[in-house]
């Protein structure tokens, strides 16, 4: 009997040890996608494209610094170049998992810094098809995750993860993510609305190695229902550049240091 059990354990053990849970995949993906390096800087160009083809441009410098482990606190500092009339506008976010973010905005026309409430994570980021959550990440524990299948996408082996929100705090009823098995970056995400219909598609369109970190440098989010889409390009990306903590303050919001924003 004992022999038999031991045999069973030997047979099952390697499988157990090798299999990765859906939650672990998503954790690794989050670390690879949003927490790479100690800090990060990029010039971001967003094209907001309407169904009719009309474009609105957003151009900004984004600075990010991690505090603690992947999945932990982060601070963001953004400086806007475009549209022209918002030049010099700055935006700062303290991101905490499991708690509402703190956000501040500097409005140059009235020379005033205002705190901005961040109750709604599902709201659009600067009018794009990305939500604040898409930009800064969603808490892993807000969803239940399951590996639906494993398949090749664009020649890359991927896990396909289904993430279902525990609460109805977002617009979608579930999301499918294709996570690249080698670098754990998301290749594609499909969002299904409450009617169960596919309505939003994320795609990572270009991946570059920057200081050894695979980084998504071109991405797009397309809303199938409204026909609106947003294309994002990261130019001049860099990691571990030594951003000081003092940058993330109201003082620098009003007068952002040139060396960081240019």
């Amino acid at each position: 009997m004992i022999r038999y059990l031991m045999f069973l354990v030997i047979v099952l053990l390697p499988v157990e040890a090798l299999a990765i849970s859906a939650e672990d995949v998503m954790k690794k993906s989050q670390a690879a996608f949003l927490y790479q390096g100690k800090d990060f800087k990029a010039r971001v160009i967003m094209k907001l494209i309407s169904k009719g083809g009309a474009e609105r441009i957003r151009e900004l410098t984004m600075l990010r610094k991690n505090y603690g482990e992947p999945g932990g606190d982060q601070k963001f500092f953004m400086y806007f170049f475009q549209p022209a009339d918002v030049k010099d506008m700055t935006f700062m976010v303290y991101k905490y998992p499991a708690k509402d973010d703190d956000r501040w905005l500097f409005v140059p026309a009235i020379n005033m810094v205002r705190r901005i409430a961040a109750q709604d994570k599902a709201s659009s980021f600067v009018g794009s098809d990305f939500t604040y959550e898409d930009v800064s990440g969603r808490d892993i524990h807000d969803d239940t995750h399951a590996i639906v299948k494993e398949e090749k996408l664009g020649g890359k082996d991927c896990y396909v993860i289904k993430s279902t929100p525990k609460a109805a705090d977002v617009d979608y009823s579930y999301k499918l993510s294709w996570i690249d098995k080698t670098n754990f970056l998301p290749s594609k995400e499909e969002y299904y609305d409450r009617k169960g219909e596919l309505y939003k598609i994320f795609s990572a369109d270009e991946i570059k190695n920057i200081k050894g970190f695979p980084t998504v440098t071109k991405r797009a989010m397309k809303n199938l229902q409204s026909g609106h889409r947003t294309e994002v390009a990261y130019i001049k990306s860099d990691y571990n550049i030594g951003i000081e903590d003092s940058l993330f303050s109201e003082r620098f919001l009003k007068q952002p240091p040139k060396k960081w924003v240019e």
Binding site: R56, A84, F91, V107, R114, A117, D120, G127, S128, R194
Partner: protein
């Protein structure tokens, strides 16, 4: 004499003719499964028409939806209480799940974007993220709701008792189906709240669905009533059925042809069967004469040929006049009007072919004993009907002067009535006052800004984001205030409202800052700030990405096509008083309704006038006399004028259904006159009667056919007055009064005119 041989052929080979007719009918019937319907009034105008191209452009520029359903929720104790708010949240969640609903842009308490400042923090978020439960939360919610001028009259009524859920529909979604699903959701809710479902797609698609139902119910009922009345008139079921078949065949032929050609059945063409039934009654004259003839000749075949000889000419000319009257519609510019005209013209021709083949053939199958019995009553001296007609015509003939004077007085009164006619169209008023579609519309319009939506688009020519300038913003605000002075404008909103709101909120909610800021940068930054958290559609709906165009939403409290006309006028006024390099252009469903009503209506009116001319020309040819054409034209003109006069006095508005009906009056009223005058002239040629005697004979014999025709039709169509949709009631009332009036005109007024003008009409003096 070619047609005549068709009659003889039919009489010689009745079986063949009947079998052929049935085969042709079956052939046309094979097309029926391919039937498509299209009840969208939008499709009255082609997709390439200016208004549709422009509206589509506006929709795509501003991310708007063609169609919007408005769900009203009313609680006499106010909607701001936890229980009602819970329901609003639940209903909104359920509506968002309906297929065909543009979920992302449903606006209601839980989804509409609010901009507030709390303890120095700016908040751009949906109005109701959590349902307020305790008193302090409810109090705060009430303040949020009433403090934001963007909400007042839009999602909350002034008295706080009514709220609305705005449900935009994806392109091609059926408004009635979605409205039904919403009603299904609402049915499950218990409590004091009342619910209303309104909006153009609801009215339009409900009307479309009802219309086909009604056509399926009322056309057969009208047919059955006609069958029954005919039976009473001729005491012979077989012949009554023959007449019925005559009409049915022509309907099958023309509808079959329409379907085979690939046209969908529109609102207008769905009325064609009724029109054809009306026109088919003209073969009544054949029957009428046949009975008289048979009684005299006692030989079926001879009687048939004699009958066709006697009525052949008037029947051919009435058919020609009717077909031409409708045929001119083919030259109009609106496709459904053309299709309708062509359809009825074809049906009329089909009817006449059948009158000269199928009907005579069918006569051959009637047992002579039946005919003997049935024709007993047909005696122009003894028959009670004929007697009455003689008396009527006698009044016209003997007191010609008085009759004509009375007529003239009526004529003047009618003209006064016509001058009072108001041209308008209102889709919602096509439903009865008590219909839930209309009740819902009325309730929501009483409480909130309105269910009808129009836009005024401000367009700048310059490329440098002119809309962001304070002057453009103030201009837009000025137009809004100016438009809001109109009584039927319930609510307007624009990009300027967002800018003002943010200015105030950024300055600690100080009412002093409820204004447009002084620099273009500030406007740009405010809007950017707003777009950082609002739904993308919030800004897209009111301004285009290049800031060259701004869209002002104008909610109207009525679906009157004229309301938008007033809005356009007011906007133009404002522009004149405040010159600025901004062009103003109207758009939206309210504007579309204005345009299509106008175009369809005037196309019909144009067609009607043209048809009048064509019919007159045919009359001239028919009688080979201008004078007789004028005289026989009088009953037609008079009937039309009298009816329009009554419409003018009754305050009923001249709308699309009435303009369509005008064409029918033309087809019918002129028929009677053609029959009367043709037969009178024949009688004068064939007998030695004096004019008075000939008139009395005509009134009694062919006149009986006219009266039968009129009564039959009035009886059948009075059924329609019981319909739940007002255009059908209008059709019913219109046809009934038209038939009776034109018959009376023909029998009383025509003899009077002929007697009075005999010196002018008859060369060489009257007899």
């Amino acid at each position: 004499m070619k047609k005549f041989s068709l009659v003889e052929f039919s009489v010689e080979h009745p079986k063949l003719v009947v079998i052929l007719s049935v085969i042709v009918t079956l052939l046309f019937m094979t097309q029926f499964p391919k039937m498509k319907t299209d009840t969208n009034p939008k499709h009255m105008l082609p997709a390439t028409s200016d208004v549709r191209v422009w509206n589509d452009e506006v929709d795509s520029t501003f991310g708007l939806y063609e169609d919007m359903i408005v769900v009203g929720i009313k609680n006499e104790n106010g909607v701001v209480n936890t229980e009602t708010l819970n329901k609003i949240k639940k209903i909104t969640d359920d509506i968002v799940r309906i297929k065909g609903v543009a979920s992302r842009d449903v606006n209601s308490f839980p989804t509409i974007t609010n901009v507030t400042a709390e303890a120095g923090t700016l908040k751009v978020a949906p109005l109701m993220t959590n349902i307020p439960k305790i008193d302090t939360e409810l109090k705060k919610f009430r303040k949020d709701l009433f403090d934001n001028p963007l909400f007042l009259n839009r999602i909350i009524s002034k008295d706080g008792k009514t709220t609305a859920i705005y449900v935009p529909l994806e392109k091609g979604a059926n408004g009635k189906e979605i409205a039904d699903k919403i009603r299904e959701i609402l049915k499950n809710e218990k409590g004091d709240e009342k619910y209303y479902v309104a909006g153009d797609p609801v009215a339009r698609d409900t009307f479309g669905a009802e219309m086909f139902k009604l056509m399926a119910v009322f056309a057969p009922i009208a047919g059955m009533v006609m069958l029954f009345v005919r039976y009473l008139m001729f005491k012979d079921l077989f012949l009554s059925v023959t007449l019925m078949m005559d009409a049915m065949m022509s309907i099958v032929w023309s509808m079959g042809l329409l379907i085979a050609l690939g046209f969908p059945i529109h609102i207008m063409s769905s009325m064609a069967p009724v029109f054809l039934m009306a026109i088919a009654t003209d073969s009544m004259h054949i029957f009428n004469e046949f009975y008289f003839c048979y009684k005299e000749k006692r030989n079926k075949k001879v009687a048939i040929i004699e009958t066709m000889h006697a009525v052949g000419r008037p029947v051919r000319y009435t058919a020609l006049a009717t077909a031409a009257g409708f045929g001119v519609l083919l030259f109009m510019s609106i496709i459904p009007v053309k299709v309708f005209g062509g359809l009825v013209a074809f049906g009329t021709v089909a009817l006449r072919i059948l009158s000269f083949s199928f009907i005579p053939a069918m006569f051959m199958f009637v047992k002579e004993s039946h005919l003997d019995r049935a024709s007993q009553g047909e005696d122009i001296t003894a028959g009670s009907g004929s007697k009455l007609l003689r008396t009527l015509a006698g009044a016209g003939t003997h007191k010609a002067g008085t009759t004509v004077v009375i007529g003239l007085i009526l004529f003047v009164i009618s003209i006064i009535g016509i001058s009072k006619i108001v041209v308008n169209n209102n889709l919602v008023e096509w439903f009865k006052k008590s219909n839930e579609v209309r009740v819902a519309d009325r309730e929501i319009n009483n409480a909130l800004g309105g269910t009808s939506l129009g836009y005024v688009v401000a367009i700048s020519e310059s490329n440098n984001e002119y809309i962001k300038t304070p002057e453009a913003m103030r201009y837009i605000e000025g137009i809004q205030r100016h438009l809001e002075k109109l009584p039927m404008v319930g609510k307007t909103f624009s990009v300027a409202d967002y800018v003002k709101r943010i200015n105030r909120v950024l300055h600690d909610d100080d009412p002093k800052y409820d204004t447009v800021p002084d620099t273009k940068e500030a406007v740009g930054q405010y809007l950017f700030l707003f777009s950082m958290s609002a739904k993308p559609s919030d800004l897209d709906n009111v301004v285009d990405p290049s800031f060259k165009k701004a869209n002002i939403w104008v909610q109207l409290k009525t679906w009157d096509a004229g309301a938008m006309k007033e809005v356009i006028k007011a906007a133009d006024e404002y522009k004149k008083q405040n010159p600025l390099p901004l062009k103003l252009k109207p758009a939206g469903i309210a504007y579309f309704n204005l345009v299509w009503n106008h175009e369809v209506l005037w196309d019909m009116v144009k067609g009607f006038v043209l048809a009048l001319v064509v019919v007159f020309v045919i009359l001239v040819f028919n009688f080979r006399s201008f004078k007789w054409a004028v005289v026989s034209y009088v009953p037609l003109i008079f009937t039309v004028l009298l009816i329009y006069g009554v419409i003018g006095f009754s305050g009923k508005r001249f709308d699309m259904p009435i303009s369509v009906l005008s064409c029918l009056s033309l087809g019918m009223a002129v028929d009677f006159a053609i029959h009367f005058v043709s037969r009178l002239k024949q009688r004068l040629g064939e007998s030695k009667d004096s004019l008075t005697d000939a008139l009395l004979w005509t009134a009694a014999r062919p006149g009986k056919g006219i009266m039968r025709n009129a009564v039959l039709f009035a009886a059948a169509f009075s059924v329609m007055m019981l319909a739940p949709l007002t255009p059908y009631i209008t059709v019913g009332a219109f046809i009934v009064s038209m038939m009776l009036l034109s018959a009376i005109m023909t029998i009383v007024y025509l003899p009077a005119l002929i007697v009075l003008m005999r010196g002018w009409l008859f060369k060489g003096g009257p007899r």
